[in-house]
């Protein structure tokens, strides 16, 4: 039984924590932008991809210069630089595409359409520059596999995860902690919460709303680059790396209640878990119990076939939108 539980842990828990971290970090960006600017920023996935590609270029640069840190992937080392660059680009995208529309008092729908335009521009540029193929951070370095033996009798399996997955979880914890401190301790962070709560009153209070908007883009951009790079380290780097998961990310933001960072984090993990658990073959866990079960355990019991993994997130998204559009954690944002 222990072996099967470890198999479950490796296939569901590890996978959902890794995926959930991506959804959580990216979802926070989406939710912050919605809270402050009141529109669904569809181009968020492509900001993530852009961050990953910047990290990829930087990693290549570091490799040619011969800079590296033993034991850590270079893609991870350059991530802070990619975060800074993406934050700057996010800020520039706002100036170029969204700020003029806000000035005209355009509706949130207009901004959403504009963000689709930005999606296409960024994706087109990435494909134009890098081509449409896939790339890997681990062409010259090796991805380290971490195996932890379980010191119990009769246990043959080890707990397995990769080093990027471990780093991903650690970085998520760091990012969430820093964000929490920023939002609850700093003057600007509180102003950000104030503006998400009531933008008109924030303006009336004399809060520099332009500054808050700028900071929001910088945070969202940096987090997007982090999530994108982490994802690319875990899987592969492609021009539609994050475009494909932008809906699960929106699902995380909406399920958590748009405008509420903590909700997005919780919902990110929830959706990551739902996706991994839905395609897991539960027969594996039931088979050892065959002796006490009244029926014969089939070869395979999955909630949905593997091809439908992402569909799980879409279904959660649609169900939550219909059943409780304000999110399932706290129904405050409107």
């Amino acid at each position: 039984m222990m072996n099967e539980l470890i198999f479950f842990f490796n296939n569901v828990v590890v996978a959902s924590i890794a995926l959930g971290s991506i959804y959580a970090v990216a979802g926070v960006g989406v939710t912050l932008i919605f809270g402050i600017l009141r529109f669904a920023h569809f181009a968020h996935g492509d900001m993530m991809t852009m961050g990953a590609f910047l990290a990829f270029v930087l990693a290549g640069l570091f490799a040619t210069l011969g800079w590296s840190v033993p034991g850590l992937p270079t893609g991870f080392i350059v991530m802070p630089i990619a975060m800074v660059l993406t934050a700057i680009i996010a800020f520039g995208l706002d100036k170029a595409f969204y700020a003029p529309l806000r000035k005209r008092k355009a509706s949130s729908v207009t901004l959403l359409i504009a963000s689709i335009g930005v999606t296409l521009i960024v994706q087109g540029l990435i494909r134009l520059i890098f081509g449409s193929g896939a790339a890997s951070f681990f062409e010259t370095e090796t991805k380290q596999l971490i195996r932890i033996p379980v010191p119990l009798e009769g246990v043959t399996r080890t707990i397995n995860f990769t080093q990027p997955q471990l780093l991903m979880v650690l970085m998520t914890i760091v990012a969430v902690t820093v964000l929490h401190l920023f939002l609850t301790r700093s003057r600007l962070g509180k102003a950000m919460r104030a503006m998400a709560d009531n933008a008109d009153l924030a303006q009336v209070s004399g809060i520099n709303t332009k500054l808050v908007v700028r900071v929001t883009w910088i945070i969202a951009g940096a987090l997007a680059a982090m999530a994108g790079t982490m994802l690319a380290l875990d899987v592969q780097l492609k021009p539609d790396l994050a475009f494909n998961i932008v809906l699960p990310i929106f699902a995380a933001a909406i399920v958590g209640g748009l405008g509420q960072p903590y909700g997005a984090i919780a919902a990110g993990y929830l959706i990551g878990f739902a996706e991994s658990a839905a395609i897991f073959n539960w027969s594996v866990l039931l088979r050892p119990l065959q002796g006490i079960l009244p029926f014969e355990v089939p070869v395979s019991i999955t909630f949905v076939p593997t091809e439908y993994k992402l569909t799980v997130a879409f279904v959660i998204l649609v169900v939550v939108l219909l059943w409780r559009p304000t999110g399932i954690f706290k129904g405050a944002s409107s």
Binding site: F39, A40, F97, P100, L101, A106, S107, S108, V109, T110, L112, I113, A114, I116, G117, V118, T119, L120, I121, V122, Q123, G124, L125, R127, L128, G131, S132, L247, F250, A251, I254, P305, E307, Y308, L310, T311, F314, V315, L317, V318, L321, L322, P325
Partner: protein, 422 residues
């Protein structure tokens, strides 16, 4: 039609003539047929967005459904399937689905309240799903191994187009009933989600659609080039005349659709629609009626999308669920309507033609530009640009993004803006 629209359509005609000269008549007829289908789809979106302010981002799903409809009706009958146990197993799966739905329906009616009710509802959905899965899984596996897929009915593709419209209408009805109450941006996201669910289903239900194995060839309602060749026509001419035949039907459908929509929109029905869109609150005094009217728009627009999607698939003769992308099939249509002019049927159709031609020819243009640049850079000793072809084909995504953002910022009402009447 105003002078402006006459002028713009004149320019559009000139553009097609130019493309015809530059790329040949054959390619231009192909472009024209597809443009007519896209114009029909854009007209559908204009009904939803331009008239109703409804945010439909599930165009891709509607097109896929229309395409699937053609494969059901018009592919040759698969005798292997009908001779096997497949129909019986499928019948049981349908029965399972019915039992599952009845269970969900029944539990929804039970007179308990609160937490217990929520638990029961969730349990009934799970049980219903379980019952369906126990029937469909073996059926799907059996069909896929014995006969591949269910096959079609071997009917004229026009029936497929009609069925495409009907299926899209059904989906729109379902979606409208559950989603139209949502705020606009939530509606947008919900429709994208639904569209993706449809794509996942059609792409993976191999027993029904052959999935990524694709269905082809799908017949035409008009004679195929091969038919004309068999009748003794030269190869080049056969392509031209066969496409012209298809084009005639496509044009006819677009003109009829435009005529009907124009007439409805200029009548009392259209006046009410405008009232609802422009002054939502006062029309809200009509109460439940508003949602009903919006549902009509949603369904009507989707019918045109379903037909358009079906036409595209029959023209290309292949149904490949793996080839559908939100960019090519949803966002592209949005650009057509925004650039053409939301709220103006002629604008939407104009946008449909213009953007489709631009979309289809932009990679040739990009290729020409890139190879020129490549020549220069080679001459300068910087080396040639690698993989020009694949890069050029991506250029159009970038251009589309630029067009969307420029249009929304500088011409938010489009090239042929809506004429506001009282």
């Amino acid at each position: 039609m105003t002078r402006r629209s006459v002028m713009l359509f004149g320019l559009l005609f000139a553009l097609f003539v130019f493309v015809g000269i530059a790329t040949g008549v054959q390619y231009t007829t192909l472009l024209l047929v597809q443009s007519f289908a896209y114009a029909l789809i854009a007209l559908g979106l204009n009904i939803q967005w331009g008239y109703g302010g409804l945010f439909n981002f599930s165009i891709m799903g509607m097109l896929m459904l229309g395409g699937a409809a053609v494969t059901f009706t018009s592919s040759p009958v698969n005798p292997g399937f009908w001779a096997s146990e497949g129909p019986m197993l499928l019948g049981r799966a349908v029965l399972g689905l019915a039992v599952g739905l009845a269970l969900v329906w029944g539990v929804g009616r039970i007179a308990v309240k609160g937490r217990l009710k929520a638990v029961l509802v969730v349990a009934s959905w799970a049980a219903g799903y379980f019952i369906y899965r126990t029937q469909i899984d073996p059926a799907a596996a059996y069909i896929e191994t014995t006969s591949g897929w269910v096959g079609g009915l071997g009917l004229n593709p026009v029936f497929g187009w009609i069925l495409g419209g009907i299926l899209a209408a059904g989906l729109a009805l379902l979606m409208g009933k559950i989603c139209l109450g949502l705020r606009t941006d939530y509606l947008a996201i919900a429709t994208i989600g639904i569209s993706e669910i449809i794509r996942a289903l059609l792409k993976n239900m191999d027993w029904l659609t052959r999935g990524t194995k694709t269905v082809s060839p799908i017949p035409w309602p008009t004679p195929l080039p091969q038919d004309l060749q068999a009748a003794g026509m030269a190869v080049n001419d056969s392509f031209l005349y066969a496409r012209l035949g298809f084009l005639a039907i496509a044009a006819l459908i677009l003109v009829v659709a435009l005529f009907l929509v124009q007439r409805a929109y200029n009548g009392p029905w259209g006046r009410m629609m405008r009232a609802i869109r422009d002054n939502f609150i006062s029309a809200g005094s009509m109460g439940k009626n508003v949602t009903q009217r919006q549902l009509e728009l949603f369904v009507l627009g989707s019918v045109l999308m379903g037909i358009g999607g079906a036409m595209l698939v029959s023209f290309q003769q292949i149904y490949d669920p793996g080839a559908y992308q939100p960019i090519n099939h949803t966002f592209l249509v949005w650009v057509m309507v925004i650039v053409g002019g939301a709220g103006n049927n002629f604008g939407a159709i104009f946008g449909g033609f213009l953007i489709y031609v631009a979309w289809m020819t932009s990679d040739q243009v990009a290729q020409a530009v890139l190879s020129t640049v490549s020549h220069w850079s080679t001459d300068l000793g910087w080396g040639a640009i690698p993989e020009i072809e694949s890069r050029a084909s991506q250029m159009r995504v970038f251009v589309l993004g630029i067009v969307i953002t420029v249009a929304i910022r500088y011409f938010p009402r489009g090239l042929l803006p809506e004429v506001r009447r009282q």
